[in-house]
Amino acid sequence: MPGIDECLSGAMAITGARSASLVDWSSGLALGSLGESPAGEHETTAAEATDLVRAAVESQTFTASEDRRAPLQDIIVTAGRSYHLICFIDTVFDSRLVLHLWLDREEGNLAGARYRLQALAEELVLG
C-alpha cells in the first residue's frame, strides 16, 4: 500500500521528471518533495504553486459549472523548457492537496505524465 514517499518516488520515475512535491494548498506547506526545486527551495515552490492553485480554485470561471466537491482535476503550465503538472488529490476527509510534477519538456511526454500522475494521486488515497 503506497504512502507519501512511494507516491513521490513514483512521480519521479515518470520520464523527464525533475521534481515532485505533495503540497497542501490551504497553507502552502510541502508535505513531501523529491528532486531539485525549480525555485531553489521546495518550500518556496510549494508556496508559489499554492498561489496558482488558489487563484484557479476560487475563480468562478474555472469552477462555476463543475462538480462542486472537486471542481478541478489538474492545472498544466506549459513553459519553454518544461511543463508543470499540478494534480488535485481527492481525499475522503477535507483536505486541500495537490501533486506538483515538474517535467522536462524535451524528455517528458505530457499526456503520459498526466495520466500517470493522476493514477498516483488515486493510488495514494485509495491504496
Binding site: 518550500e43 466537491r69 471542481p71 477535507d94 493510488e123
Partner: protein
Amino acid sequence: MSAHAAPTALLPPTVPRTPGEAVGLLAAREATGALRGPLGSVYLTDGLVTHAESDRAPDLGDLLTGCGRLAPGEWRELVEVHGPHARVAAALVDQGRITRGELELGHLETLFDAAFFVLADTGGGLWRFETGARHWLGPVAAVDAARVCRESERRRHLLDGIWPWPQLDTAPVRPAEAARRPSRRPPGRRRRELLDHADGRRTPAELARLLGRSGFGVTADVRRLAAAGLLDSAPAVVPGPVSVPGPAAASAPAPAAVPVSVPEPVPVAAPVPAQPPPPAAAEPAPAPEVPRSGGLHRRVPGATLTGAGAPGAVAAGAVTSVPAAGSTAYGPRPLGAHALGAHAAGAPERGAPAPGAAPRSDRPPIPAAAHPLTVPDPDIALLTRVLTLLEARL
C-alpha cells in the same frame, strides 16, 4: 522566510524563550516525550516531532468522523481499545478503515495544524515537558523539529498578511451585513460553507471541528472573509449581560433581518448603514410593493432609495438600474443604491432606464466599489486604526 528558525536548531539556546526554541532545544537533545503548553502538546520521539494536538485544531478522529468515514462511536472504541498500546494508527490501516496514504496525509496535516496553534502561542503560561510520554495514535511519520517550527512561523506571517486581526481567531464569528447580499457571496465552496455556519456563537476552532477541516485552513478563511468585509466577530457576546451595548448598537440590523426571510434573496436588503429606517423611510416602500404582484422584487421598508418611488422606476431598477436620482441624491449612502443591484450611478437623465443599462460602462462598478470593503486590497493600516479606535471606545 525559512531562515528564521534555522539558527534555533543549529545553536539551541539553553533557556528557551519561545515554544519554538523549546522544541529546538528538545530536538537537539534527541528527547522523547511531550511538550505541553496552554493550547496543546507537541510530541517528540528521539528529537523528531511525531505528533501534535491542540484544542484549536481538529485531530485525525475529527477529520474521519466529520466526513462520515467513521462513526464517532467507532472512533471512540478504536481509541479505547488500541490507544493504551499506542496502536490506533496501525489498527485503522489493519482494519481497512483508511489506507496508508490517507493515514499519512491526515496525520501530517493534523500534526502541522496543531503544532501551529501550540507553537505560535506567545501568551506565555505554564509549559512543561513530560519525558517519555507517547501519543496514543502510535507512530506514523516523524518530522524534523526545525521544519515544524519554521512552518508554524510561516503560517503566523501568512495569517497576518491576510488580515492582521488575531482576535478573530478565538472569538465567535458571524456574517457581516454585507454578506447578506447575494452579489457578495465569497469565492470558493469552503468559504461559502464557512460563512453559512458562522452563527455568532461558534469560534473558528469550533467551526473547524464541525466542518471537519483543518484549524489553520478555517482560521485563514475566516480572516479572508473578514478582510472582504463579509464576516466579523460577534461583539463581546460571550461575557453576557455586560455586552448589551454591543448588540444594542447592532440592533440596527434587526430590520434588515427581514430581507433575509424574503422568499427571493434578491439584493433588496439595505445594509442598514447609518440611518435607522423609521416609518418615514418605510412609507414609499409599500406603494411599489403591492402593485408588483408579479413578485419580481419586493421592496423592504427602509430599503433606502426613497426618491425612487415611481413604480416604473422600481420595476426597472430591480433588474439592472435605478433612476440616478436615487443614487446621486443620496450619494453618501451608495449602499442603498447597489443594494438594489443598481449599476446606474451614471444614468442621470433616464427616468425609466433602458434595459441595456448602457450607463454601466460610464463609470465602471461605482456602487460596488464604493463599498470600502469590496476593494481587493483594503487599506489594512487604516482599517486597523479604525479598529483600534472602536475598541478603545468600548
